[in-house]
Each structure stands twice: as structure tokens, then as C-alpha cells.
């Protein structure tokens, strides 16, 4: 059975082109043009994932997301962000969205993100993105305090290294290209920076005592990027 998407955006012309694209990719698509309608449609069609534009009049995307989570609804949400500063994007994850993608985007990329989010989601359970503490084996991170511990020992991580670790854990199992890490964590994807990603990853591995050849946590996928391979779970 194909997954059902609720697609919410206030631009009619955008819905008109994106909905057929997603349908061709094999999804059932329901649409709504504002936050209120989205919340109503949600009850009727019980989607597997919600793709939500942030900038909408009246009830905006963040608000819809917040209301859902407050009501204990853990349907995965992907936000379509407009103002793409890294701080604002990080905020999306803190508000309980499962992922975000910056407008304009390659629609193929959106399909990949939807599939990744669906793979990660377990029906009725809290998503990683809505939790403040995440664990993988003896690694524990506190997303609000920006601290990390390995086997009870606190790791002296620099701000960027922590942000990279958090991002990879939130997207556990997904291969994340360097450009995407740069874009989402740094906000720049300029040419000289892809080495910087490698430097931060090497730094992280050193702290985590992770062997690049037999990784427990971060795996290098040659020619593609990095992937968090450990199982990630929510900690209270």
C-alpha cells in the first residue's frame, strides 16, 4: 500500500506542480492551502507524513507542528523552510519537525527525504527530532544543553562538532552528503568547506574513539557522504 502525504502550502501553483510529482513518485497526495484546513484534513485522512510550508498566513507551519505535538500526534513532519538561516532551521528540529528542506529544492530530494522519514518513523511513537536526549549504545547527547557523554564521560566537543553529531544522529541511517551537512549545519556550501566537514568528522571520531574502518557510530560512504550507523533511541 502506498503511503499517504498531506501536502500543505499556501501557493496554489506550487501545489499544482508538486502534488502530481509526488503522485508519480508513488504516493497518495492530499493537499491543503492553510494551517487550519491542514489540521482538519489531518483528522479525516490520517496521513503517514505531512509536508508543511513554514510561511503561511494565519496559522503557519511551525504553529501547526507545535499544535500536533502538543496534542500527542507524532505523525512525521517535513517542513519546507523559506528563511534558511541555520539557526532557524535548527529551530525547526527543536519544534518537533522530523526534517526540513529549503525552498526551492530538487523535488527528487524531497522524495528521498520523505522516504527516509517514513523509514525512521515507528507508528505512534515520538520521533528523534522531538526528543531532547538521544542515545546510541553508550553515547548520550543532550540537545538542549549541547553536551555529549561517552560511557558516562563528558566529551569536550566544540560547538560545530556537536552540531554535526546531532545532525547525523537525528538522520540516523541516512547517507548525508557533505554539501547537505554544510548547508544545514554551517549555512555555507562553498567549495573549500567540504574539507572542513572531513576535519570535523575526524575530530568527532577521535572523541568517540570510533574506527573509520570498523565504525560503531559514523561511517564514511565513499563518494556519497557520511552515515550514522548506530541505532539511535530517545532517552527520557
Amino acid at each position: 500500500m502506498s503511503s499517504r502525504i498531506l501536502l500543505v502550502d499556501d501557493e496554489r501553483s506550487f501545489l499544482d506542480v508538486l502534488a502530481p510529482f509526488l503522485e508519480r513518485a508513488g504516493f497518495q497526495v492530499e493537499t491543503a492551502q492553510d494551517g487550519e484546513t491542514a489540521l482538519q484534513r489531518l483528522a479525516e485522512c490520517a496521513p503517514d507524513v505531512i509536508v508543511l510550508d513554514v510561511m503561511m498566513p494565519h496559522v503557519d507551519g511551525r504553529e501547526v507542528c507545535r499544535r500536533l505535538r502538543t496534542a500527542g500526534n507524532w505523525t512525521p513532519v517535513i517542513l519546507l523552510t523559506q528563511v534558511g538561516g541555520p539557526a532557524e532551521r535548527a529551530m525547526s528540529l527543536e519544534e518537533g519537525a522530523d526534517d526540513y528542506i529549503n525552498k526551492p529544492f530538487d523535488p527528487g530530494e524531497l522524495v528521498a527525504r520523505i522516504r527516509a522519514v517514513l523509514r525512521r518513523a515507528q507508528a505512534g511513537q515520538r520521533s528523534l527530532a522531538s526528543a531532547s536526549r538521544l542515545a546510541s549504545g553508550d553515547l548520550l547527547i543532550d540537545r538542549q544543553a549541547h553536551r555529549a557523554w561517552l560511557a558516562g564521560q563528558e566529551l569536550p566537543l566544540k560547538a560545530k562538532a556537536f552540531a554535526v553529531l546531532e545532525y547525523l544522529m537525528l538522520h540516523a541511517g541516512e547517507v548525508i552528503p557533505r554539501e547537505r551537512l554544510l548547508d544545514d549545519v554551517w549555512g555555507w556550501d562553498d567549495a573549500p568547506m567540504s574539507r572542513t566537514v572531513d576535519v570535523r568528522i575526524a575530530e568527532l571520531r577521535r572523541h568517540l574513539g570510533d574506527d573509520a574502518d570498523r565504525p560503531r557510530f559514523i561511517e564514511t560512504v565513499p563518494g556519497a557522504g557520511y552515515r550514522f550507523v548506530g541505532p539511535v533511541e530517545v532517552r527520557a
Binding site: 501557493e11 501553483s13 506550487f14 506542480v17 508538486l18 502530481p20 510529482f21 508519480r24 510561511m55 519546507l80 523559506q82 528563511v83 534558511g84 538561516g85 541555520p86 539557526a87 525552498k103 526551492p104 529544492f105 530538487d106 523535488p107 527528487g108 566544540k158 560547538a159 560545530k160 554551517w186 549555512g187 555555507w188 556550501d189 562553498d190 567549495a191 573549500p192 568547506m193 574539507r195 572542513t196
Partner: protein, 302 residues
């Protein structure tokens, strides 16, 4: 300001001394003898006090005025910065929806006639990059910078390696010359990633505008409490009338026509360097070359 307050007390002090002298009969008062029944000492004291009072009032008012105008100026600057950010945000919003729609439509049509579509998609990508660049620049004002000690020689090496890895630039002549000193230049304090981006932009520029056979010289040295980096090319140079504007956003000089670029690189360099408390300047001679000079404050040794 504090000195003015003390100076304003002079009439009062003088009056107090005079009054004291009159009281003790040290000074006779022939001039004001007609007022013999008034207590002259008290009058003098009061007169001095009121003069000082007036002076103090003046000081207070001017101090208040200065503070008020400084605050007004700061508020005005703040407001301008906010206006600017709001403008970028609106531009962002206005352009992103049409772009997003276009990009999806183009991707949907991809199976159709190839070349036109590819060109259209390239243009969308280009507009997208422009928007991202503007956004990035605007974000830099509020970007949370790291404050780590940075070895610039090492960082310039990385920037050069990155430029040499650009396809087509593998064989480029880019040289790093440390100043000949018995010691190496002191570290600077700041955000390594941001500075790497800034110096990469300068080197990238020098490679682009210096021409395919040009050479790029990167020099590093110290000058007093500053670390100085020069990035020089032997290209066609920059016209004199363009020089005052090249650090402005989206400004493209005459020599830049036909060379791919966003018009944002140097604006980013300037902002990144200034956020580190440094300066960037340019010298150029048409037909001979261009030198960019970046000065960054050296990290004080503990």
C-alpha cells in the same frame, strides 16, 4: 566630562575661601561698605554657590545631550541593519515561491526536449545560489563566531589546496610566502571556518581575474600587533573608478564582465574580516595586477 564637573566647582570654592577670609576679618571690604549691615560673607558664599550651580546644570545638560544623541545614533544604525535584514527576507520570500514552482515543473518535464530544459534548470540553480549568497551575507551579522586560536599560515595552506582542487585549476601557480623572520607570525583569534572561507574567496578571485597563465602570490607576515596577509595577482588589474565599490554587495566592475561570479565574494571577505576586528584594503595597477591586504589583530599572548 568628569573634569568639567570639577571645574564647575571653582566659583563655589573661591567664594567659600573669600567668605572665610571676610568672616575672619583678614580682608577689609571697602568697596561694599554701604552694605555693611548685610552679612557680606554669606552673600559671597551664596553667589559662588549659584554660579557653580549654573555651571553644574550646564554640564549635566550637555552630558545628557551627548548620551541621548549617542543612543539615538546607535538606535538608527540598529534600525538600518534590521531594515536591511527585512529586505533580504522579503526578497527571499518573493523569489523562493516562483523558483520552487519552476524547479518542480522543470524536473517534471525532464523527460522532454533536453537542452532548453537543462539551460532553464541551470538558470534556476543560479538564481537560487544568488539568493543563498545574499542570505548568507545577511546571516553573518548574527553568526555565532567561534573564538579559537588560529594559525594563519596553516589556514592559508588549506585555502590554497582547496583552490588547486577546483577542476581546471590543478596546475595553477599559487605560492605561499611566509615573511622572513626568525619566528613565525602569531596566531589570530576567531572562527577558523569563516576565515578559511574569506581567504579562499580572495585566492579564488585572484585565480579567476589573474587569467589562466597568471601567478598568485600569498604572503603572510606580522606588523606590530597585526598579522598581515597579502593576496596578489599579476592580472589586468581593476579600473580606478571601480576600486571604491568592489567590496559592495552585487557590485561587478568592468573587468568582471564575462567572468562567472556572484558579486558577493568580496562583500563576504570584508564582513568576515571586520567581524574579526580586522581590515581589508586593495591596491591595483591597470595592466599590472592587484593586491588585497588583510590585517587581523594578533591574539594577545597570555
Amino acid at each position: 566630562m568628569r573634569r568639567a564637573f570639577w571645574l564647575a566647582a571653582i566659583p563655589w570654592v573661591l567664594a567659600a575661601i573669600l567668605a572665610g577670609a571676610l568672616r575672619s576679618g583678614l580682608v577689609a571690604n571697602p568697596v561694599l561698605a554701604w552694605q555693611a549691615d548685610a552679612d557680606l560673607a554669606t552673600l559671597v558664599l551664596l553667589g559662588g554657590l549659584s554660579l557653580s550651580g549654573l555651571a553644574w546644570l550646564g554640564c549635566g545638560l550637555s552630558w545628557y545631550w551627548l548620551r541621548w544623541s549617542a543612543r539615538a545614533l546607535a538606535a538608527e544604525r540598529e534600525r538600518q541593519a534590521q531594515d536591511h535584514q527585512r529586505f533580504i527576507r522579503r526578497l527571499d520570500h518573493e523569489m523562493k515561491n516562483p523558483l520552487a514552482t519552476l524547479q518542480v515543473s522543470l524536473a517534471s518535464l525532464q523527460s522532454g526536449p533536453g537542452q532548453t530544459l537543462a539551460t532553464a534548470q541551470e538558470q534556476v540553480a543560479r538564481l537560487n545560489r544568488l539568493l543563498q549568497g545574499l542570505r548568507k551575507l545577511s546571516d553573518l551579522d548574527s553568526y555565532a563566531m567561534a573564538a579559537e586560536p588560529i594559525d594563519l599560515t596553516d589556514l592559508l595552506g588549506k585555502a590554497i589546496a582547496a583552490a588547486k582542487s577546483v577542476p581546471g585549476w590543478e596546475g595553477r601557480n599559487i605560492e605561499l610566502h611566509p615573511q622572513r623572520l626568525p619566528w613565525s607570525p602569531p596566531p589570530v583569534s576567531g572562527d577558523e571556518d569563516l576565515l578559511l572561507l574569506a581567504f579562499y574567496n580572495l585566492i579564488d578571485n585572484a585565480c579567476k581575474f589573474g587569467g589562466p597563465d597568471g601567478s598568485v602570490q600569498v604572503r603572510i607576515g606580522e606588523d606590530g600587533a597585526a598579522v598581515v596577509v597579502e593576496v596578489a595577482d599579476n592580472g589586468p588589474g581593476i579600473a580606478e573608478r571601480d576600486l571604491p565599490h568592489i567590496f559592495e554587495e552585487l557590485y561587478r566592475g568592468e573587468g568582471a564582465r564575462g567572468i562567472e561570479g556572484s558579486g558577493l565574494g568580496l562583500a563576504l571577505v570584508k564582513k568576515a574580516v571586520e567581524r574579526h576586528g580586522g581590515t581589508v584594503a586593495v591596491r591595483s595597477r591597470p595592466g599590472q595586477g592587484t593586491v588585497f591586504v588583510v590585517r587581523l589583530p594578533a591574539k594577545p599572548s597570555q
